[in-house]
Structures are given as C-alpha cells and as structure tokens.
C-alpha cells in the first residue's frame, strides 16, 4: 500500500504542521439546569496534532466521553470553541455538520454499530454510498486486505467474531480517508487478543497512512500504543503524557484517580 493515496501526505507529519488538526479552547459542558446542573467538562483547552494517535484516559465519569462527543461534533459545548481542520464547528448548521461527518470525520464505536442486514463489505462502503460517491475498487480491496477480512466480505456481522466486527468498523472509518477518526472505547467490548488486533490495525493506519486518531479508552494497554495520552479527571485535563509504556500509563492513571 502506497502512502501517496492519502491527502495528509501533502503536509509533513505531526508537530511540523503549522496548525493543529483539532483545537479546542475553554470547553464547558453542563448537563441539567439550576441546582441539578452538573458540569461534565469544566474548561478544557487542547490541541490535537495530525498524523498521531491521541488517547484520552480517565476514570468513569471524568468527562472523557463527553469531551470526545464535543470534539466530534456529536454534542455542542455549553461554552468554548472547537476548530476542526480550520473550521469552527460549534453552532454549525445540521447540513454543514452532515458534510463534516462525510468528509472530515470517521467513527469507531465500542459496540461496533454495524448494520446487521448488510455484509461486511457493504458495511465498509456504507459511508461512500450515503455520500453518493463511487467506490474505488482498488482502495477497497487494499483496505479489506489490510484489516484481514478479504475472505469475509460477504459475511454478515452476526457471522463474524467481535474482533472481526470491530475490524470491519475500522475499515468503515478509514474508507472515506477522513482527516480524523474518533474511536470511543474501541476495545471496550473485545477480548485481549482481538483488542490487540484492532489496536495494531489502528496503529498501522497512523504509521503507514498518516491517519489521525483520537481514542477514548480506559485500557492502559490501549493507551500505551498511543503517541500521546491525555488524562482527564473531574472535567479537566490533568496530565498530558507523550508516548508511554503500559506501566507508566497505569501509574499515571492511579495517580489521577486518587486525586
């Protein structure tokens, strides 16, 4: 697979890029009203560089999922701004958000979210057919080969294992060559072997194709594969680690949780 196919190759990788791919500042997300109001995020500012895998970690209820929902435009912040690939996404119209999801963003979910009545291949190409784009057969073959499902193209999700299903979901996220993929606990529903497969697949997408991935996880092993790990607790970013081992991640996690 040649890396030339990806638009990201136009720019040098990571830190050398002039502006971050995702830039958020002063994010506050409040749920409920009046005395029942709960602040899930209490002022988060961060930049995410292109071509890297960034993990967001934190204990339950820390606000890590909320943060990802905001960054991906699935939810709107109460305060603050998010610039995605140069576009301010807070307050975007439904139409522009739809275009953003078609062109710029890919998703990977904890429960795979494959459509049960479609085959593996149809699930992978679904974003293209939704957008009404034609399928590049070469790219599709390469992708299915890469995720190791070339011989499972015509299987339905119910005929695939959890790991295989999640690999289909990864291929589906990659198929449109999005600027950024948001992965929400991608290994949360998998056994350890399948987790490793899926994570290494995501890792390869970053390394070989320069794909940008933002991943929410509470699995230290998963986070250890990331280039950068943001720790979040109580609605704030509390640690920002560069590449770490699983042990270091665990230690940081312990520290964060006990605060």
């Amino acid at each position: 697979m040649s890396a030339i196919a990806l638009p990201l190759d136009d720019a040098p990788l990571g830190f050398t890029q002039e502006r971050p791919l995702v830039a958020a500042s002063g994010l506050v997300r409040r749920f409920g009203e009046g005395s029942n109001a709960v602040d899930a995020l209490r002022g988060v500012t961060l930049d995410i560089e292109a071509g890297r895998m960034t993990a967001i970690m934190g204990p339950s209820g820390s606000g890590k999922s909320t943060l990802m929902h905001l960054l991906a435009g699935l939810d709107a912040p109460t305060e603050g701004s998010i610039v995605l690939d140069g576009v301010e996404i807070t307050g975007l119209s439904e139409k522009r958000l739809t275009e953003l999801r078609r062109d710029t963003i890919g998703f990977i979910f904890q429960f795979f979210n494959l459509l049960p009545m479609l085959t593996a291949e149809e699930n992978v190409t679904l974003p293209l057919s939704i957008a009404g784009r034609k399928i590049d057969a070469g790219w599709l073959d390469a992708l299915l080969d890469e995720v190791g499902l070339d011989d499972r193209r015509d299987h339905r999700p119910s005929e695939l294992s959890g790991g295989q299903q999640q690999r289909v979901a990864v291929a589906r996220a990659l198929v449109t060559k999005p600027k950024v993929i948001f992965a929400d606990e991608p290994t949360g529903n998998l056994d350890s072997t399948s987790s490793k497969d899926v994570l290494s697949l995501m890792r390869r997408a970053v390394d070989e194709w320069g794909q940008t991935i933002v991943m929410v996880t509470h699995d230290a092993g998963a986070a250890a594969l990331a280039d950068r790990i943001l720790f979040i607790a109580d609605g704030r970013i509390v640690r920002d680690l560069e590449e770490s081992t699983a042990a270091e991640v665990l230690a940081a996690m312990q520290e964060v949780s006990s605060r």
Partner: protein, 851 residues
C-alpha cells in the same frame, strides 16, 4: 441508502410480515368488494343483455309505480298481432317475464312441501313462446320446452339442490293454491352461472297467464327486417302502441334494466368499501404504532447512519421507502387475498339470506389500481410520523446507546382534545334539527365519528395510567407477582399502550355503536308492531313481507277455532306524482284486530265510511300532501287504472314498522282497482291451533301462520341478520387490531430481553413469564374496550336521539357490551400466545448478555 432501507426490511422479515398483515386485510376488503360487486354487476348485465340478444325493440306496459306487487300494465295479444303486421317487423313474440318486479312470482315447492325461497331472492315465473327461439334468453340444458298446460322447465340450481329430475312432479305456488306440473326440461338463463338464490319456472304462455293471472303479455319483443335500424323500428312502433305501453329499443331497455340494478350494486359496493375503509383506518394505526416502536428500537442504527454522514433527509427517505415497500408488498398480497375474500363475502351474504347472482369473477383494472394505491398510500401516510421521529434521532445516540424514548407528546394530546371537540361539534350538527338523513348530516356524522375516534386515540395516552389502575386490578389481584408486573408494564410507555389499544378501540367502538343502534331500532319496531296488531294470530307469506294469495286468507279464516279474520290487501299506487302504500281492509272486521290510532276527530265509526270511495289517510301523509277531510283525489293503480277516492278520516300508525300505509280503502274498492290483489297480512282472532292453521293453509306453502309474538319476532328478525352481517364485517378490524397487539408485544418482549433474563435469574418461572406477557396484553385490550365501548355507546346515543322522530329509542344491550368485553379479553389472550412463548423460551444466559 436505498439498499439499507430495503435490506433492513428483509432483515426483519417476521416483523415486516406482521406489520404488512395489518394493511393486507384492509386492502383485501377493498379489492374483494370490487371483485364481488363487479362480478354481480356482470352477472346482471349478462342476464339483461341475453334477454335482448336478438331483439331490436321491446314493447312493454309502462311502469307507473315502484315496488308494486301487481306489476306494470300489460300489453295485449291484439297489439302483438298488429305489430306483426307492420312492414319493418321481421318477427315479434309476446312473453311473460318481469325481471325487475314482483308480478311474475311463481314459487317452486320442494319435496317436503316448503316453498323454495333463498332469503327473498326472486322466484320468477316465465311464459315463453318457444316457437320464436330468437327471443328466448333461456338455454335448454336437457329435456324439452314446456308444450302443454301441465309442463314446466326449471333452473339447474333448483334441480340440483332440491334433487328434481326430468319427469318429476313439482308444485308451483303463485296467485292461488299450489298447482302441480311435470318437469320436462332444465334450462339456464343466458350464460349466468347462478342467479344468486333466484329460481325460475318456465311455462307455455297460456299456462303462465293462467297461473299468474296475467292478461296478455308483460312485454313484446320485436325484431326488425334486415336493413331497418332499431330507432326507425322504434318510431314506427310508437305510432301504434296505446298510452299504457311504451316502446324502447333493445339497447335502451337493457340500459334501463341495468340502471335499477346498478344502484343496488353500487349500494353494496359502497357498503363493503366502507368496511374496507374502516379496516384500512385501523391498519394505519397498527402500522403507525409498529413503525414508531421499530424506529425507537433502531435508535442506535439510525444514529450510526447519521454519524456516517447520512443527512436527516436521507434518514427520512429511507424510513419512508421502507414503509412504501411494505405498502406495495402488503397491497399486492391484499389484492390477491381480496380475490378469495370476494367468494367469502358472497357466501356470507347468501348465508344471511341475501343471495347474489354469480358469474365468472371480474378482475377490473380499476380494482388493481385502487387497491394498490390505497394500500400503499395509507401505509406511507401512517409511516410519516415515525419517519419524522427517525430524523430527530441525534447522532450522539450512536455512541451513547440506549433508546430514544418517545416522550408523551403534548402536541398529540392537544390535537386529540381538538379532534374530540371537532367530533362533538360535527355530531351535534348531524343529530340536531331535522337534518338527519341529508347528505350534509351524514357527512358530519362520519367526520364526527372519525374525529371522535381519532381524538380518543390522541388523548388515550393520558387515560392509560388511570385505566390501567382500574382495569389492571384483576391482574394484580389474581395474577400474582407476574400479574402485578404486567399491570405496571402496561403503563411504562403510555403512548405505545395507548396506540395499541386505540386500534382495538376503533373496532369495539363501532361494534358497540352498531349494537346500540340495532337494539334501538329493534326494540322500537317491536313495540310499534305490538301496538298495531291486537289479534292473537297473523298469517303472512313465508318471508313475512311479500304478498300472498287472497284465497289463503279465506282458507285461514275457515280454520277450526278461528272466530274472526280480517285480511289486509297491500300494494302501491300513485296520487298525483306521489307513490304511496295502499291497503285494502274489511271495514267490518278490521277494527277488532288492528288498533288504529285515530286522529283529527276520526274514530272507530269512521270505518263504516270505508265503503265505495271512502279512504282513510295517514295523518302525516295527508299533511304533507295537503289532503283535508272530504277532499277528493285520484289514485292510480300500478296498471294505470284510476279510482276516485274521498278522504273520510285520519289515523297515524307508528313512525317505524307501520303495517298499514298512506291510504287505506275498502277491500271491494281495492279488489276492483288493483289487477292482482294480494294479501299483505291476514289477522285472526279466536283460539285456533297451530296444526289446524297449517292444515288449512296446506295448499298455500308460501304462507305461514304465527302467533302475535312470533310475528313480532319474525318481522324484526332481519335486524338480527343485519347486525350479524355488520359484526362479521367489523370483526375484520378487530382482527387487524389483534395483529397490532401481537406486533407490540413481540417488539416489547424483544426490547425487554435483558430484563426478562434478569427476572428469570431471580426465580421467575417460564410459566410466570408467559403469564406476565399475557396479562399485559389483556390489560391493554381492556383499555381499548374501556375507551371504545363508552365511545360507541355515546355515538349510538347521539344517532338514536336523532332518529327519535322515526320512533327509534336509545337502548343499551348490556349482554352485548359484556360479550364485547369478553371478546376484548379473548383478543388479548390470543395476541399474547406467540409473544409469551417467545419470552418464556429466552435463554437466560444469552438474554443477560444481550446488548
């Protein structure tokens, strides 16, 4: 996206089939109604067109009065001779055949001495000139035509069903005692397969004239010489026929014959389509409900599509496409099911004594188009609200999981209240004042009922909780913990329970409305007849309403034990331009056997003036036509013979089920005026025995003697037949709502998989799980009944109130309402069978792991 929608449908086959079933039945009803009525129409058309196959013109007596028992004026043999002498005439033949009237009735008698009568279907007696076969619409199947005075040819249905063969003797009753004939042939009418219960007997012309007491012919068929057009033949004939006769071209005559049948067929069509409409309406509710639940359960899937870049419009389109595909599928199936249903409807009608003629089924293009369009459009429309709700699923649900629950919408409640108000207004408009029966009032009534029912469905979700508390009591009391949970489950999603119950509610509301109206009419007729007939015995024809021979009345009067007898002649006549029921009574005897409600100073002694030209006038008829005491007026008999009458008194029969008509005259005058006088009723006093009367009437098998209460009962029995017919037709919508209940339960069980697994883990037995589902179903059904029955009674009260000026009173039949409630409970239990089984068979472990 299209693929997603269609594959989605295929991926949920069972659900799709169950959902589609709701529309299939409605469409089947529509297509069945069309096929049935088109077929009837074709049968009639072929009856009438074969009647005039080789005929260019028809000369017949003019029809002056509708529904007369003595028939139209006749045409004379002298006229036939004169027609034959005309230059343009190739051939002409007289015949005795009245396809539209009652004047050539000849009842065949079966081997047990009973008249063969299929619920009032015509019993034709034909006189045919077989020397002129071109005019003969009948086709001989076996044997030969009647040649002598004692020979007859009968129809194949009667031969087959009553086991008559050529050579057998058969009794025929017409305008006198039974006479016996020898069967010499079997013939069918044109290409018609079955005349729908109608029978016919074909005689020689003289034999028919003698049997039916007809002078001359009912019609003369004329064929033109070649090269002469129908119209020039008609204009030639017009110059020679007398005033009481008319000339029509064969085409005109066939069109004329068809017209009277056409309105009958379109009435049946409208009637059946009405029930098709109700079925589709209920089906729409079921579709709406099922799609709503399905959309809620597909929250994550729809949200995922959104995160993958699907726009709201695409989601809307895909859900609509799904319902459109469902609609097309269901309509196609329904269309063909309807073809079978047409047969069923036909047997239903004949089972209720309403035989309809049959022919090879007619599948008109219109049937296909209307059924397909109607089914598809109804499904799509029902799917609009769920589709719109699908577009509101936010993409974030893809990550969060869970179901976007439909919150009980304030809008639905407001709309419901508004509809209730509109319904009440329409109903009020329809039933107040003197409007009932007018077009605008019927429209208002229909719109009002529709609005009330839809409104009730709209507010039902607000009532569900309260109703479940009351109606769920038996479940909580006797169902153990499973029953208690079921009662709680029923109110977990009030909107869902409400719309499930609403589908059943519609059927039950209509059924109870019909029951109230039916009982009101029935009870009023009962008391009306009792108030008129004061004699202990009444003689009528077998069917209770057509005429019977005068001689039968005389025979009954001589039965042992009869002390007094009074026959009432009945026919119709015309005064000015107004047609009116005319009765001939015996002034000396009628007073003691029939109770007159005298008006305007008339009294029992007025009867003494009923000789000669004296006439009693119904007060309301007199007022309407400005007839005052002493007025003279001319009454025309159906054959056009005038009689001058003088109003000598007034009476007022009940506004419903009147036995005497607008004009009552002396029997002598009646017999002198009406050509073939027949009795409507013969009232008897004294203490005759049933056997004695039967013996006296033995020569008149088309008559029966009944006690007063038997008579009252049989006169109102058609109401029970009608009610049964309506119940059967409304049962269709109850079945559809049953499908809806099954749907909801299946989906609910699916949704609660994990919860049921949990209940099993903490010790609930399979049996208890089944009971839980069943009780929930019953509570839902009872909620439907709890709203539907009162609504139906309310509608019934409104309409009976409006009908009160026709003497209809409001009466609630408590046993019927109890029956309907039991039916509702039964429906609930039935609907729960499969879902409960499914729930109880869930594997506990996988149910718990179920995501």
């Amino acid at each position: 996206m299209t693929r997603v929608a269609l594959k989605g449908l295929l991926g949920r086959k069972v659900r799709a089939v169950l959902t589609a079933l709701a529309i299939v039945l409605g469409v089947a009803m529509v297509s069945g109604s069309f096929v049935l009525t088109d077929t009837i129409s074709k049968a009639f058309t072929s009856i009438f067109s074969s009647a005039y196959d080789h005929t260019d013109a028809v000369v017949s007596g003019k029809k002056l009065v509708d529904y007369s028992s003595s028939g139209n004026a006749t045409v004379s043999p002298a006229l036939l001779q004169e027609i034959r002498r005309q230059p343009d005439v190739a051939a002409a033949a007289g015949a005795i055949a009245d396809l539209n009237g009652d004047s050539t009735r000849a009842k065949l008698i079966d081997k047990h001495g009973k008249g063969i009568d299929h619920g009032g279907a015509p019993t034709f007696g034909f006189g045919v000139d077989t020397s002129q076969p071109r005019f003969n619409p009948l086709k001989l199947e076996s044997g030969h035509w009647a040649a002598g005075p004692d020979e007859v040819v009968i129809d194949p249905d009667t031969a087959k069903n009553e086991h008559f063969a050529i050579g057998d003797s058969i009794g025929v009753a017409a305008d006198g005692p039974v006479r016996h004939y020898r069967i010499v042939g079997i013939a069918k009418y044109g290409d018609v397969e079955s005349l729908g219960g109608a029978t016919f007997a074909v005689f020689t012309i003289p034999a028919a004239q003698q049997l039916l007491h007809i002078k001359g012919y009912t019609a003369i068929s004329v064929a033109a010489t070649s090269g002469v057009s129908q119209s020039s033949l008609v204009s030639r004939l017009r110059t020679i026929v007398p005033g009481t006769a008319q000339v029509r071209s064969a085409d005109e005559q066939a069109a004329q014959d068809k017209k009277s049948v056409g309105s009958f067929v379109s009435f049946i069509r409208g009637f059946l389509l009405g029930f098709g409409g109700i079925a589709l309406f209920v089906g729409a509710f079921v579709i709406f409900n099922t799609l709503s639940i399905t959309v809620a359960q597909r929250t994550r899937e729809l949200a995922t599509l959104r995160t993958l870049g699907a726009s709201r419009r695409q989601v809307l389109r895909s859900v609509l496409l799904e319902s459109a595909a469902l609609g097309v599928l269901a309509s196609t199936v329904g269309l063909f099911v309807g073809f079978g249903l047409a047969r069923g409807l036909s047997s239903l009608f004949s089972g209720l004594g309403l035989g309809l003629p049959e022919a090879a089924p007619v599948y008109a293009t219109r049937t296909f188009v209307v059924a397909m369009l109607l089914g598809t459009i109804v499904t799509i429309v029902a799917g609009i609200a769920p589709a719109v709700r699908a577009t509101r699923v936010a993409p974030i649900y893809a990550a969060k999981g869970g179901i976007m629950q439909k919150v009980r919408s304030r809008k639905a409640t407001i709309a419901g209240v508004a509809l209730l108000a509109l319904g009440a207004l329409c109903l009020g408009y329809a039933v107040t004042g003197d409007r009932l029966g007018s077009g605008s009032s019927l429209l208002a009534l229909a719109v009002g009922a529709l609005a009330l029912i839809s409104g009730a469905a709209g507010v039902a979700s607000r009532l569900v909780t309260a109703l479940a508390v009351v109606l769920g009591w038996p479940s909580r009391r006797f169902g153990g913990s499973a029953g208690a949970l079921a009662s709680e489950n029923a109110v977990r999603n009030p909107s869902r329970t409400a719309s499930t119950a609403a589908a059943l509610m519609i059927g039950l509301a209509l059924v109870s409305f019909v029951a109230v109206l039916g009982k009101g009419v029935h009870d009023s007729m009962n008391s009306a007849i009792r108030s008129q007939v004061v004699s202990p015995w009444v003689v009528t024809s077998q069917n209770g309403w057509s005429g019977f021979p005068v001689a039968a009345g005389v025979a009954a009067a001589h039965a042992p034990g009869v002390t007094e007898a009074s026959s009432i002649r009945a026919d119709r006549g015309i005064i000015g331009k107004v047609q009116v029921n005319v009765d001939g009574v015996d002034p000396k005897t009628i007073g003691g056997l029939y109770h007159f409600d005298w008006k305007d100073g008339s009294s029992e002694s007025t009867l003494q003036e009923l000789n000669g030209d004296g006439a009693l006038i119904k007060q309301s008829f007199a007022k309407k036509n400005h007839i005052v005491l002493g007025d003279r007026f001319i009454l025309l008999s159906p054959s056009g013979d005038p009689v001058s009458l003088r109003a000598v008194g007034f009476y007022q029969p009940p506004r419903i089920a009147e036995l005497l008509g607008g004009v009552v005259i002396g029997q002598d005058t009646f017999d002198a005026t009406f050509p073939r006088a027949q009795n409507g009723y013969t009232l008897l006093a004294g203490s005759p025995t049933k056997a004695g009367l039967a013996n006296a009437l033995a020569a008149f098998p088309d008559t029966k003697a009944q006690t007063q209460s038997q008579f009252v009962k049989s006169q109102t029995s058609f109401m029970s037949s009608l009610l049964n017919l309506l119940y059967v037709l409304l049962a269709l919508s109850v079945v559809i709502s049953l499908v809806g209940m099954i749907n909801t339960l299946v989906l609910t069980v699916y949704e609660r998989t994990r919860e049921i697994g949990m209940l099993r883990v903490v010790g609930m037995s399979r049996r208890q799980v089944r009971r839980m589902v069943r009780h929930e179903s019953v509570v839902t059904a009872l909620i439907g009944a709890g709203i539907g029955l009162p609504l139906g009674v309310l509608l019934g009260a409104a309409v009976t109130h409006a009908l009160s000026r026709f003497g209809v009173s409001f009466a609630v039949s408590v046993p019927s309402l109890i029956t309907f409630s039991v039916v509702a409970v039964g429906a609930g239990i039935l609907a729960a069978i499969a879902p409960a089984r499914r729930a109880s068979k869930l594997n506990v472990l996988s149910a718990l792991q179920y995501e």
